[in-house]
Point group: C2
Chain length 301, copies 2
């Protein structure tokens, strides 16, 4: 699992920082999460292949998470894309995109599918044979979802030595990989765990931005491998965080701790701060495993 931060600063794009957008590579799938202005250029800078992106997830309709979407959708067309593109986001995202396509008289060269979200409960919005994506309802000034990306557990690994020792026919290998016990010709039952190893652990990633401190998300993201949680402010600006329905670095760390996350990635920093190191320092007073998100940074998990 690999996370590339295209942008992780709040509010307006600047010459040196970009609004929210990131690419999650999970089980060879590339998911684009949020799409602030300049995302398509950030994709180019980070050498992400446009053609590998088939699913875009939009957390909410504030500009710093959205205003690069129409340009990305249009550029995909200009490049002659023919593969379907799926966009998941709050109700309204379809109208915003289609209105602009209509008025520019430039329809996409590919099929565009909108999956508009309205529920306030966590729901499965994407599922294939390897990955499942669920919403994480967040509390912000407008309707907002985070997204939980989970790998499905893979097959068990065949213990080839053991299998050969019991002289099991290859026809039964898939059954073993699927976790089944094997009954030998003499009626002996060999338990699966004697014939196979555990699969590679399934990874999970939770993207939570933008949100006020909200413990209601903990059951949804519990035991997540990597939690990206917004930290727009430091604790010194806690009243402002509460007022604007954002979080502090300390609050992000508290959610990571209570949710038993393995790692915490910080981001969505207010541009009022000169440097971002203090976010890490503050979070580490609560939670040990903190990574500083930053534009152009890739994390391999």
């Amino acid at each position: 699992m690999k996370l590339t931060i295209l942008g992780c600063y709040a509010a307006t794009p600047r010459t040196i920082t970009n609004p929210t957008s990131q690419v999650l590579e999970i089980k060879n799938r590339l998911f684009l999460i949020d799409c602030g202005e300049g995302t398509q250029v950030q994709l180019r800078k980070n050498k992400i292949k446009f053609s590998k992106i088939n699913h875009i997830f939009i957390s909410h309709l504030h500009g710093d998470h959205l205003y690069g979407l129409i340009g990305t959708v249009s550029t995909f067309s200009l490049l002659g894309r023919t593969t379907d593109l799926h966009i998941y986001g709050p109700k309204g995202v379809k109208e915003i995109i289609t209105l602009q396509l209509k008025l520019s008289n430039s329809w996409t060269t590919y099929q565009l599918f909108f999956h508009e979200l309205e529920s306030n409960e966590s729901e499965v919005i994407f599922e294939d044979n390897k990955v499942i994506v669920k919403t994480i309802p967040l509390k912000h000034r407008i309707y907002t979802n985070g997204f939980l990306f989970q790998e499905k557990p893979g097959e068990r690994k065949l213990n080839i030595e053991a299998v050969q020792q019991y002289d099991i026919h290859t026809a039964y290998y898939q059954k073993i990989k699927n976790g089944g016990d094997i009954t030998l010709d003499d009626g002996t039952v060999i338990e699966n765990e004697k014939l196979s190893f555990d699969p590679i652990p399934a990874m999970s990633y939770a993207f939570c931005s933008d949100t006020v401190y909200n413990e209601a998300i903990i059951p949804i993201i519990e035991n997540v491998d990597v939690l990206y949680h917004e930290s727009t402010f430091l604790e010194s600006e806690a009243p402002l965080a509460e007022k604007t329905l954002h979080s502090t670095a300390k609050e992000a760390a508290t959610i990571a701790l209570k949710a038993n996350a393995k790692k915490l990635v910080l981001g969505h920093y207010s541009t009022r701060y000169e440097g971002i190191e203090p976010f890490k320092n503050e979070a580490e007073t609560i939670f040990p495993n903190v990574l500083l998100g930053n534009d152009g940074v890739t994390f391999d998990f």
Copy 2:
């Protein structure tokens, strides 16, 4: 008169080039012309004061001229702007902007005035005591206007030696500056040109993008000081220019020649070309005074 090119490449933004946007400074007014994605960052890079922009002109609703507008409008709000902002553009621009503001529940901190254009005839869309702006109807795949910015002629300059020689009272100075003749006490009429010098010549700038080769614009832009005319293609791609309703560098130069423009600025280059010098070379076979527009370049006229 000063022109700063923020972006002058066609279609999609890339790491090294930007879609169309430019700032014209004329008589101390700052006009933003077109607003492709990334314009607000280009404004920052070129140290243009956001607060000095009160009028934005949008030629047409293709993304490479428009998709940076909503971000610019939003950032003005985030910076706490209170001054009115006027946006001139094709019918539909208001719906695009207000829909996104509505769905993000983020109204502007300032008054936003839309001046939607529908006419196929040249019309005055802005006028104050120093500058007048007219549309230049262009032929493109969707409804498109260029814009002609004209300084109003200033007052005549007092010829102070002559005025003193005729012993003319200061009360008559403004009349002289306004071009009036003076009658002395003995009934002699002194013609204005003996008492004053011509004013500084009024400058004009015509922005023509995007458009196919179209001689119908010549009467509108005749004798213009500076003509910016799109040259998406070179003559080698003339059939493609015609098909997509764009122009070649040679065609841009032909319009400049026939309109008796003093200078021609080229731009809106297709990103298919490696360098832009060939555009200048091609245009110069037709018209002598060619300037290559390029991102981040400022011309003082």
